[in-house]
Amino acid sequence: MLTRDLVLTALFAAIIVVLGLLPPIMLGFIPVPITAQSLGVMLAGVVLGAKRGTIAVLLVLLLAAIGLPVLSGGRGGLGVFAAPTTGYLIGWVAAAFVTGFLSERLVRREQTGLVQGAGFFVSALMGGVVVLYAFGIVYLALVTGMGFSKAFLGSLAFIPGDALKAVVAALAGRAVMVGYPLLPQRA
């Protein structure tokens, strides 16, 4: 890994940590608060691509595991990996990878802005919602023994917020690509 790629992943990990420090937002039509940290996971894939994005997310989880309060709400320590929602944390890694993998393949420089935005949106939705919830729901179902359909039902309230984040990630991904392109240079 080049030093530059190492630095980029570390800087992005810092961005994900800072997004977790922002206060959660309440939107009227969604019953649960929205944190910006999982937006950071989608952004890691969209901006840095599969390899570097995945490493950035792994770094954040590593910092949390060794006892730094880097997760949203000041959470950290090995205890956060003993929560019923730990599947979502593990899923972050896969989410960043899938988002990055699809972004690298769907989005190219010569495409029009609309196509690029759509490509980023599909990538973020597949990685940050479909894959992420697959991990989260399977873990929740196994750890509680409540069964998949009930675990799915229990997670339903969070999906609109994350779908909304995929839109933000797509728009931000395109804006960063225009302002400071990193995606085409694959690490």
Binding site: L22, V47, A83, V143, G147, A172, G179
Partner: protein, 201 residues
């Protein structure tokens, strides 16, 4: 950044970090393999006792344990309604024990001890050429170093919004924050290479 490590001289502080981590992993296997309420109940009481041995102030313990405890209780109640009482009980005992033990390990193991273990764990991967163990420490150090800087950048972008009478939104703040932060990557990388920290071309 404040760490969750608390310096002290308790028994758990003195045990080697490797023993603590392996013990935690072994106990988590036991916790998830067992369905016996007596065993799980005993382990839960033992975990709580272990945590109490640290003698953290009650208020601080509550601050630390609250987020995970809250999700365990909420999901426990959901399981109670959606499934059955024994199932919910087993789940709550299991995760509460694991969470208390994990929190105890976190509170008694310093960041440098953790990094030592992680570097040792990464050594086999270095031997097969997958990664450089020393890079992990470098990357962790970089993140800790740059979080305050990125936060300051976020605040500057937010202030710029306020100065222009705009409401700071996730999209309009995230984009400048990301671009401004990542633009420094080349300089930082050159600085690292100039110091020969990674010993490579």
């Amino acid at each position: 950044m404040r760490t969750l490590y608390v310096s002290g001289d308790s028994l758990l502080h003195r045990i080697s970090p490797r023993v603590k981590l392996v013990g935690l992993a072994a106990l988590s296997v036991v916790l998830f393999a067992s369905r016996s309420p007596t065993l799980l109940g005993t382990l839960c009481v033992a975990s709580a006792a272990t945590y109490l041995l640290l003698r953290l102030p009650l208020h601080e313990s509550w601050q630390r344990l609250r987020p995970v405890l809250l999700t365990i209780v909420i999901v426990g109640l959901f399981t109670l309604v959606a499934d059955s009482a024994p199932q919910a009980g087993i789940f709550v005992l299991r995760l509460t024990s694991l969470m208390l033990l994990a929190a105890a390990v976190t509170a008694t193991t310093s960041i440098s001890d953790f990094m030592g273990e992680i570097t040792a764990l990464a050594m086999p991967f270095e031997r097969i050429g997958l990664l450089k163990a020393a890079d992990i420490g470098l990357a962790v150090g970089l993140v800790v170093r740059f979080v305050p800087e990125v936060l300051a950048r976020y605040q500057a972008v937010r202030d710029a919004h306020h100065a222009r009478g705009l409401k700071p939104r996730m999209l309009t703040t995230a984009v400048p924050m990301i671009i401004l932060t990542l633009r420094n990557a080349d300089e930082i990388a050159s600085a690292i290479d100039a110091r020969g920290l990674r010993r490579q071309k």
